[in-house]
């Protein structure tokens, strides 16, 4: 009998990297995980050491394979999924990073993005993205401006740019490439042609010589030192869309991690949002056409729970928020809008800052915990409303995944505020699963996307259980609280900071 084969995926995330081995039914066989340092040189700045991340990833593959009790030769394909937009610059000659990576959460490019305002419609139309500190382009530009001599070296192609997928692919296969989903987050790629765009490059001031070649999300890019085909790369949210098997237009997933991201498959045509959503590439399999997605990005959801744990000490682990929230029956009139670094979709207001509204002497820590969980639900509701308006479709069920789906109270609250059933799929690790699926498709481990659909199963379902009148009253209160976050930061004050 031939030995069974498996597919592995590396999930290079914001706080840790993981390697997960899956079997052909999409079941998890083993997991290895390593955390890496978060470097905060100044308020608003967030950096990673790309060298440290590569060392961790290299070790993980071996750990996950041996943890499954198998050998490299039994891994049919390796997929990569990664934190998006985080910007790595490295020396082509030595292969070493020339500086710390600037992480997607970093807001140092705020003044720079405002200075690019004259090009706003160009970026929106060609790249599908609003001007925001979030994306890679401004981060590259900032480094080229700030580090002496870097621009000249970049123009000569001596210093290379890549997002985390690109950095890992360079180290795994020796090629300077990126996948189309990651490239769609740079503000430098034309989402219609799927190539680097000279006008976007000129507007951003980034030389073409430093950019990787854009490849499909699934094809054999090369092999690891152990001979495993490296066969997919997808940004984490696109990978989750793929892992949730949202292959048909209209199919939508929502991933609950530090932030939350709703993506709706919009088919082979990019849809430009009128309601504050991003247009992004969902995936491209081999030489097939690209599939596009509308994305609603929420900056702070799970990280608000961590804030309650780390900054207030009200809970000792993130999961305990559910225990604390269940000590009371409702939010006690209290609403928490976590606009810690402004509001993302659908508002895109960098001048907003967080508020806790509706406080009275009655409110206790249990109510605050409720308000924290409800903040995730209401922010989801705002994005769903925007998606319904843009797509002309009404969401009928929400496919939720990510770490926070372990929180039953949050899942019930989501169903209550969205007024649709919320479904958790069998594999909550849809990000890694999506990368594994794409890699397995590229190598023929799975024959087609229909065989992947057959792997998708409902693990749990929460149905709406509150009255429409209550839902509407709470939504009105939430909107009042959101209105109070806007305009908090004065532009002058912000530029000084």
């Amino acid at each position: 009998m031939p030995r069974p084969h498996y597919v592995a995926a590396i999930d290079q995330g914001t706080t840790s990297s993981r390697c997960i081995v899956f079997d052909d039914a999409g079941n998890i066989i083993s997991v290895a995980q390593r955390e890496h340092r978060q470097i905060f040189p100044r308020p608003g700045w967030v950096e990673h050491d790309a060298g440290e991340i590569w060392q961790a990833v290299r070790a993980l593959l071996g750990e996950a394979v041996s943890g499954a009790g198998i050998e490299d030769a039994q891994i049919a394909a390796l997929g990569i999924t990664n934190q998006r937009e985080t910007t790595v610059l490295w020396d082509r000659e030595t292969g070493r990073p020339v500086c710390n990576a600037i992480v997607w959460q970093d807001t140092r490019t705020d003044a720079l993005t405002r200075a690019l305002a004259e090009h706003e419609s160009l970026f929106k139309e060609r790249a599908g993205l609003p001007l925001a500190t979030y994306f890679s382009g401004p981060k590259i530009r900032w480094l080229l401006d700030e580090i002496p001599g870097l621009r000249e070296r970049a123009e000569r192609g001596e210093v290379l740019f890549g997002t985390m997928d690109s950095w890992l692919l360079w180290n795994l296969t020796g090629r300077h490439i990126t996948d189309v989903t990651n490239a769609s987050r740079t503000m430098l790629m034309n989402i219609h042609t799927l190539g680097w765009d000279d006008e976007l490059l000129a507007a951003m001031g980034v030389p073409r010589a430093m950019l990787p070649e854009i490849r499909p999300s699934a094809e054999v890019y090369g092999r690891t030192a152990g001979g495993v085909p490296v066969a997919s790369a997808l940004g984490d949210q696109q990978a989750a869309l793929f892992g949730q098997t949202c292959f048909a237009p209209g199919e939508t997933k929502s991933t609950y991690g530090s932030g939350s991201f709703l993506l709706m498959n919009t088919g082979h045509e990019p849809v430009v949002s009128k309601h504050g959503l991003l247009t992004t590439v969902g995936y491209q399999i081999g030489s097939g056409p690209a599939t596009y997605a509308l994305e609603g990005a929420i900056a702070v959801t799970g990280s608000l729970v961590q804030w309650l744990r780390d900054n207030l000490g009200l809970i000792s682990s993130a999961a305990e928020i559910e225990t604390l929230a269940k000590t009371v029956d409702d939010n006690g009139g209290c609403y928490f809008v976590p606009a810690f670094s402004g509001l993302f979709a659908p508002h895109w207001r960098s001048d907003a800052r967080g508020v806790i509204a509706g406080l009275t002497g009655f409110v206790n820590k249990g109510h605050l915990a409720r308000a924290v969980l409800e903040a995730t639900a209401w922010q989801t509701r705002e994005v769903v409303d925007a998606m319904n308006a843009d797509s002309g479709l009404d969401l009928t069920t929400l496919r939720a995944d990510g770490g926070m789906t372990a929180d039953n109270l949050l899942m019930q609250t989501l169903a209550d505020v969205l007024a649709v059933p919320v479904i958790r799929p069998m594999v909550a690790e849809t990000t890694a699963l999506g990368a594994a699926y794409a890699a397995g498709l590229a190598t023929g481990y799975w024959p087609d996307v229909e065989s992947l659909r057959a792997n998708w199963h409902k693990a749990a379902e929460w149905r709406p259980a509150i009255d429409e009148a209550v839902r509407e009253r709470e939504y009105r209160n939430w909107k009042k609280a959101v209105a109070r976050t806007l305009g908090w930061v004065d532009q002058e004050e912000e530029s000084r900071a």
Binding site: I28, S317, A319, E320, T405, M426, A428, A459, A460
Partner: protein
Amino acid sequence: MGETIQSVERAAAILRLLASGPRQLGVAELAKALGLPKGTLHGILRTLVRVGFVEQDQATGKYRLGATLLHLGSSYLDVNELRTRSINWADALAGRSRESAWIGTLHEGHVLVIHHVFRPDDSMQTLQVGTYLPTHASALGKVLLAYDPYGEAPAAPLRAYTKATLTDPKALEAELDQVRTRGWAAETEELTEGEVAIAAPIKDARGIVVGAIGIRGAVERLASDGALHMEYVSYVRDAARAITRALAR
């Protein structure tokens, strides 16, 4: 109710006083506040220091609450934490066995269902998190009873849910002995006609059983001629071990 023990009451009074503020207290201050002779206090304080409930500052000789006491209330594993740490393995268990997966903990003499994964056939199912199962008539309950650190037996009379339910306390005790010997529990049409369940213990870093994980399904799928298919037992025990390893980290 019998009489109370004076020295325990005095120890409690000392702890309460030390917990009342951030200040460290000397023997003289404690003696004054409690109206007790210093000699009496010395003996109680020495005992409290030995068990780690109170610490004495080396420099000042004053007393404060000990680290052991501070950890006493927070050492139990929160059920939501247990679900979070188990979720991947419960999914994999349901995926491999093609049956619904369940995690339970003991709660006031019942099994509290803290996690439930649907049987992966996309049929209509309702989430059972937060519901209770009887301890003596469920595989989860038998595991939790067998490894309960307090060793409490369920209150008699044991209710019969089917004609196969164990209602004789002696028969149940023999069954729990077998659970401890084998490391897993079975329930064969003891709660619901036509349904079989298997469960195994989840242990925390100290080796204490903090929950049970198992599967439940139709007797014709999980057993033949009254005997369980052993591969299902392996799936359940693998999942329990994987979660136990995750909790040890």
